[in-house]
Amino acid sequence: MTQITQEQKNQFSAALERVAGDEEMLVMLAEIVAEDAPPMLQKLEHQLQAGELHASSQTAHALKGLLSTFETRAPVDRLQPLIDAGRANESETSKELFVSIKGSLESLIVQIEQLTP
């Protein structure tokens, strides 16, 4: 039996629909995101600082995939310009984009983590 609140169900209604209403499954996926997303975000930041744009693009792509089960709109969809900028080798743009979405990505990850017991 999961402890998902009505507010959380409303917030992640699309995600619940994707798992055909299976709350246990949603919590299981949230646990994976809670474990994997923070280090991935950290890795992305380091790669951008180090100018490893190709690698940063791949990490951003993986992060987008990981989070998109829970959210497909902002801030997750804002990872796409970051992926594109990395592929285009645009270092400054990549960094600026990352700074602009970092906070909201962190908030989303916390909200997903709150689904776990």
Binding site: E17, R18, V19, A20, D22, M25, D36, Q58, L66, T69
Partner: protein
Amino acid sequence: MPTGVAQQASDSQPAIHSQPQSKWFKAMPSLLVIDDDRSILAFVEKSLAAIADVEIAANGADGLEKFRSGQFDAVLLDIQLPDQNGLAVYCELRELDRQIPIIFMTVDAASDTAIEAMQLGAFDYIAKPLSSEPLRDLVEKAIEQRQISSVPVAISADDESDDHSAELFIGRSPAMLDVFKAIGKVAKQDVPILIRGESGTGKELVARALYQYSHRSDEVFLAVNCAALPDNLLESELFGHEKGAFTGAESRRIGKFEQCNGGTLFLDEIGDMAPSVQAKVLRVLQEQRFERVGGNKELTTDVRIIAATNRPLEQMVIDGDYREDLLYRLNGVTIQLPPLRDRLTDVPSLIQFFLVQAKREFNKPDLEGLSPEAVKLLTNYRWPGNVRQLRAVIRRCVLDSVMPVITPDGLPVEVTRSQIDPRIGNEHPSSDPTPVPGAGLPALVRRLLENRSTNLYAEATEYMERYVITEVLKDTNGNQSQAAEILGITRGKLRDRITSFNIVLKSDVTVEA
């Protein structure tokens, strides 16, 4: 063994199956998922646990190693893997097994890689984030495709086959021997083939046999039911479409003719095709060229077409509903499947085969067979639903049986009644006695359930279809063009239904069903 058991379920192998099984008796199908995202692996494992054994791999190398050492029915593959490009993994998988259906998973469904993969013969792609139900539907289709193209169709005039994993084509009646000969004669010739026969006679099985005995047996085999899709979707399904070709065409889609390049395409219900699609199919048959819907670029393909129909194509040509040139292109080689009533001598062999199958599948080791009286009734029946109906009846009997021998009491009413009135089985199965049109559906379903019908879906659907068509024809004062448009079906299909349902359009435009 009790005396008087005429038809034995003679399979002596242990029949213990705790896992769900497909109709081909394979244990649970197996699926390999290759993705570095743990949440995707967990999602797929949990979503598909009921339909497949899921094996997971977190990178391309691991996936390929597992694929080499295992036996899989389908693969779900991420396009972007940490160690190599998903497309490279795809090519290696295809080298190892040309027939394995591979579904790509991609965050960007319009990506060039996804399109390239489809052009190379991938089964399909699915966009991330994944959703349980569409994922399950797609994987089920892929597994079915795998089984269709890889489960051997054994052609036998004998009752016995050592290969229990095969689907056996049974018959030693002259009509069936002619069919077997025709398959042997034309399978290796790279020509289009038209398979004709009533519903339930095994047209798909012939198509699969032709493919499996052909030079293209290592390549892709895809099946499309032309009657199952509205005309515009069928055109897109067959030929693909460009982005923006029509409302909802958000990205380029690769059609079956492109996807099946080098392979065999089975077009079932070829009579149910709009004229615009007929023209495009004709062009592929003549020149192996086509364009995607909404596209200008001419594409070439090398596809062998096997078509099937139970419709009177010649009459449809006369009525102006079917292209004569397409008919002549298609029926260069025709294989005609006889209805079961014309080869009743094959019924005992078929009973034997289906009995053994059902006994194993439903785990009924104590079932010994059918009584002579039951066999006689089954052999005298006219089988309007042909072999499909016979198979369903035997399966139902085996499922319901609690005694070691199935007697006439265990048979469906329509079969036992045929002994009293031998005309039964020829008549239209669901003539509606209800005075209020459409109101008899619940009663019909109840009656069919009570009679332990093995054809309930078809009969109930036919009842509903007849009601809908009648009502629309009334609404259009008998104007068939308008009715076809409202119904969203071709005029040919409407005319066919009017004939087969005995709908009478009277001069005062009231409609009698």
